[in-house]
Subunit: 264 residues, 2 copies
């Protein structure tokens, strides 16, 4: 039994989110509908935090609005975070998640998010079905998000050609090689180019998502949801100390960037 | 095929971790063995980020050392993050994870981590098996970790009686009521009392885990793993802006705290 008293503790942040849905100025500004159908592409050896960091914001929003989440993989078999290193160390420090759809059965999406992971960095040919899926669905998406080396998979699908994007800084060289026509930005926590939102490594996905929900669902929701998850976001897309830590730079590092978008 | 060149990109951080395992000063300092068996207690409606934030550090360590991870629930049925709010909004923005063990079959553990979640805050009697499990296994643990309102479940098991602990700040009142003998610290990102490590809400679990791996596996590993996940940790346990945001304070807020431990 859930009492009204208990529910009321959650209502302040939920009420804010509900109000935003009917804000005509917000809707007019985008001149489109709000995204409600989120797909997350999964593959063996993906990095969990690339998914579950950003997903927290979607979870919170989904508690006051009807949001659909699809976990999409090659088959409906459980997808594990296990990778060659865990196997080599004889560790069992991985877990399995149940996909909800396959590339063949996935419905129309508003947003697709692609996580990174050792399963993307060190795996080539077995991920071709995922690459093909991305290439086929990309045109119909409202937004396309990648976290960490997930932008490598996207690059292989050709959807980042001629676009600004960033990626994991620790394995930068490996990833940028997958997209020779991509304008890879080194010093960037996240980058936005049109409908394409790409973040740097792992935990950067949460900063990207904070910026994303702020633009899509409003600043008030972004702030209240971050407060609810007790998260202090990095709101400066150019603030990327890990580019330096991992010795990464690019020719686009000195261009003016506004809220993640390069000003040409 | 994984080439040596590819592996070498990951080796710097892995090599550091491997070296630490044989550091006699580190081992002597603890006068005990390093933890290798990690259990995570799962229940319906847990908060994913409470688990997968901290788990990232364990994952990274587990790539160079044999670490066992057990996902422990009441049964082996998939455990979903769905909760009353998602159900009420008709959202499908939740997912399921496969447990590896039940409370009855779980092996001996070195570390048990308890996440928080709406499934803990708003659920009472159905979680009694989890409470009983915590009470029974607590004495044999080397370390006991809670994230967010997971300390509420711990308090119900009686294991926080007379101990300093903290918890989620947004639903503070609900949680502290579950442990009338617990010394709840308001202004704290995390608190350590003996083998008990408790964190504030959701993303605070990552700061707790950063401090934990620094003490247990060494500062060098903590730093390199954070750099690998591109994460800037909050290293000051007293730095807790969300206590103020959510109007939380306690009589212990002005006591001296050193690395999360209250100095009496």
């Amino acid at each position: 039994m859930v009492s009204l008293k208990l529910l009321s503790l959650f209502l302040p942040s939920l009420a804010t989110a509900t109000t935003l849905l009917s804000d005509p100025a917000l809707i007019a500004k985008r001149n489109t509908t709000l995204p409600t159908k989120f797909g997350i592409l999964l593959y063996p050896g993906y990095t969990a935090l690339d998914v579950f960091g950003p997903l927290e914001s979607i979870n919170i929003y989904g508690q006051a609005h009807t949001i659909d989440l699809y976990l999409i993989a090659a088959t409906l078999d459980p997808i594990s975070t296990n990778n060659v290193f865990t196997t080599a160390s004889n560790s069992t420090s991985y877990f399995s998640v149940l996909p909800t759809h396959t590339f063949a059965t996935a419905p129309q999406l508003d947003v697709l998010l692609i996580p990174g992971g050792i399963g993307e960095v060190l795996v080539d040919e077995p991920l071709q079905p995922a690459v093909d899926y991305v290439a086929s669905i990309f045109p119909s998406l409202q937004y396309f998000l990648t976290v960490c080396s997930g932008s490598g998979l996207a690059a292989r699908a050709g959807v980042l050609d001629g676009k600004y994007a960033t990626t994991n800084k620790q394995v930068w060289d490996l990833t940028v090689a997958k997209g020779k026509k991509t304008k890879w930005v080194g010093k960037a926590r996240w980058v936005i180019d049109g409908k394409i939102w790409t973040s740097s490594g792992v935990q950067a996905g949460m900063d990207l998502m904070y910026a994303f929900v702020g633009e899509v669902w409003g600043k008030e929701f972004a702030v209240s949801s971050a407060q609810g998850m007790e998260y202090l976001p990095n709101v400066d897309a150019r603030r990327d100390p890990f580019a330096e830590v991992h010795g990464v730079s690019s020719v686009y590092d000195d261009l003016v960037m506004e809220d993640g978008r390069i000003k040409e």
